[in-house]
């Protein structure tokens, strides 16, 4: 191989490595959901950290399960995996009942066509004596109710050629939403939760044969905001 060709290829690969995975800016909003427990005021924190402080400590050792809000959330798996990873790291002794065991144990009540969508309806269902008895035998106290979706995506493309070569530019508005609510099955209440929405624009530029890609990491932003808030509640319960 000619040294000049090798140098050119090395340069292209370097450009791809430098720019190919560059994150594009995103805008993320986090809000507390449901009832919250009063906590000592803290100053200087970000909005997300202040919200985290107000979630009650969760004794994960008393058992918990992750319950996807809808079937598409369960099938996609990313939202559930995100929360599961965050809790497992923050509270290693927390005892998780796999979702399939909870679903089988409570059959037919948590199937895609039968599970209540709203948290108040879900709590009312889980309060029924027959289900309470089964939840006791499954030995879990908490449920993390997880919702999530990709927001509408719109794409635009521009391109053209001139004497100097061709350039193509494509951009896509992307967004992700993730929510998690802590339910205390013993008390029959929603303890609170987090809902995060992130939006950004991913873009791709093709200059000749060199692609330059900017990805807006909206999925990982909402995962980190919601996952950390829920994990902190479990970590606080572990330290008690």
């Amino acid at each position: 191989m000619m040294p000049a060709t090798r140098a050119r290829r090395t340069a292209i690969v370097s450009v791809l490595l430098l720019l190919g995975g560059c994150p594009a800016p995103t805008e993320t909003q986090v809000r507390a959901t449901g009832p919250v427990v009063a906590s000592p005021a803290s100053s200087g924190n970000t909005a997300a950290e202040r919200a985290t402080d107000s979630l009650p400590a969760i004794a994960g050792a008393e058992g918990y399960a992750l319950l996807p809000e809808r079937i598409d959330v369960a099938e996609d798996g990313k939202a559930v995996d995100c929360i599961a990873r965050a809790i497992a790291q923050a509270a290693p002794t927390a005892r998780q009942l796999p979702f399939d065991k909870l679903r089988d144990g409570l059959f037919p009540w948590l199937e895609p066509g039968t599970k209540p969508y709203m948290e108040e309806d879900l709590l009312a269902l889980l309060k029924r004596p027959l289900l309470q008895e089964r939840l006791k035998s499954l030995d879990i106290r908490y449920v993390v109710h997880i919702g999530g979706r990709r927001l509408d995506q719109t794409a635009r493309s521009y391109g053209g050629c001139s004497i100097g070569g061709c350039v193509d530019f494509t951009s896509q508005n992307v967004g992700a939403q993730l929510s998690a609510t802590l339910l205390d099955l013993r008390e029959g209440v929603a303890l609170g939760g987090r809902d995060a929405t992130s939006r950004g624009t991913s873009a791709g530029l093709l200059v000749g044969i060199v692609p330059i890609i900017f990805i807006a990491p909206t999925g990982s932003r909402v995962c980190s905001e919601v996952g950390n808030a829920i994990a902190k509640a479990f970590a606080a319960g572990e330290q008690r």
Binding site: I71, D72, E75, D76, D104, G105, L106, F107, P108, W109, E111, P112, G113, T114, L130, L131, R134
Partner: protein
């Protein structure tokens, strides 16, 4: 292809306190889903696939399990009821059927449970639909859709207003008898 019934957990359900006679039509066990489905654009790289899924046995297994779980006493009928039935212990007659099966991009299974009074008068129909999306592996489409529909049979029985009202009236009517006997 022969569809396998879904592995159904033991239902967590208080059976309705009535005796039901059930008629499973022979064609129920012979049900098969046949047709074609296509992927891609008609003038492009379209792939057309013919399918023939024998699902009768699986539907029969699912419906038997759910109807047994739904009612306190279940009596199978040996022939199709064509009018009043001569059994004073029977409160209702149930006739489950497969209304339709859609098998293309995922699968949808729709069951109909016709409930008939012992005197032969139609009481109510309960329809349930279960589905499996395309993201589920194809060999599991029917299994997932049948489990979803199976779960709904039990839940719909507790939320059917006409049935609920009828059960409440029966309960009220039986109350003076219970008081007299105690």
């Amino acid at each position: 292809m022969r569809a396998a019934p879904p592995p159904l957990p033991e239902p967590l359900f208080d059976p309705l306190p009535i005796t039901v006679a059930v008629w499973y039509a022979p064609e129920l066990g012979e049900h098969r889903a046949t047709g074609t489905r296509s992927k891609g654009r008609p003038n492009g790289d379209q792939i057309v696939t013919h399918y023939d899924v024998q699902s009768g046995d699986a539907h029969l297994t699912v419906l038997r399990r759910m109807i047994s779980a739904a009612f306190r006493h279940v009596k199978p009928l040996s022939s199709e009821p064509g009018g009043p039935i001569d059994d004073p212990t029977v409160d209702l007659i149930a006739m489950p059927t497969v209304a339709w099966v859609e098998y293309g991009a995922g699968a949808t299974v729709r069951y109909r449970i016709s409930l008939i009074l012992p005197d032969g008068e139609h009481f109510t129909n309960i329809f349930v639909s279960g589905s499996a999306s395309e993201s589920v592996p194809e060999q599991r489409w029917l299994e997932v859709a049948m489990r979803d529909a199976a779960a709904q049979i039990l839940v719909r029985l507790t939320t059917n207003e006409k049935l609920e009202k009828w059960l409440a009236e029966r309960h009220r009517a039986a109350a003076p008898d219970r008081r007299r006997n105690s």
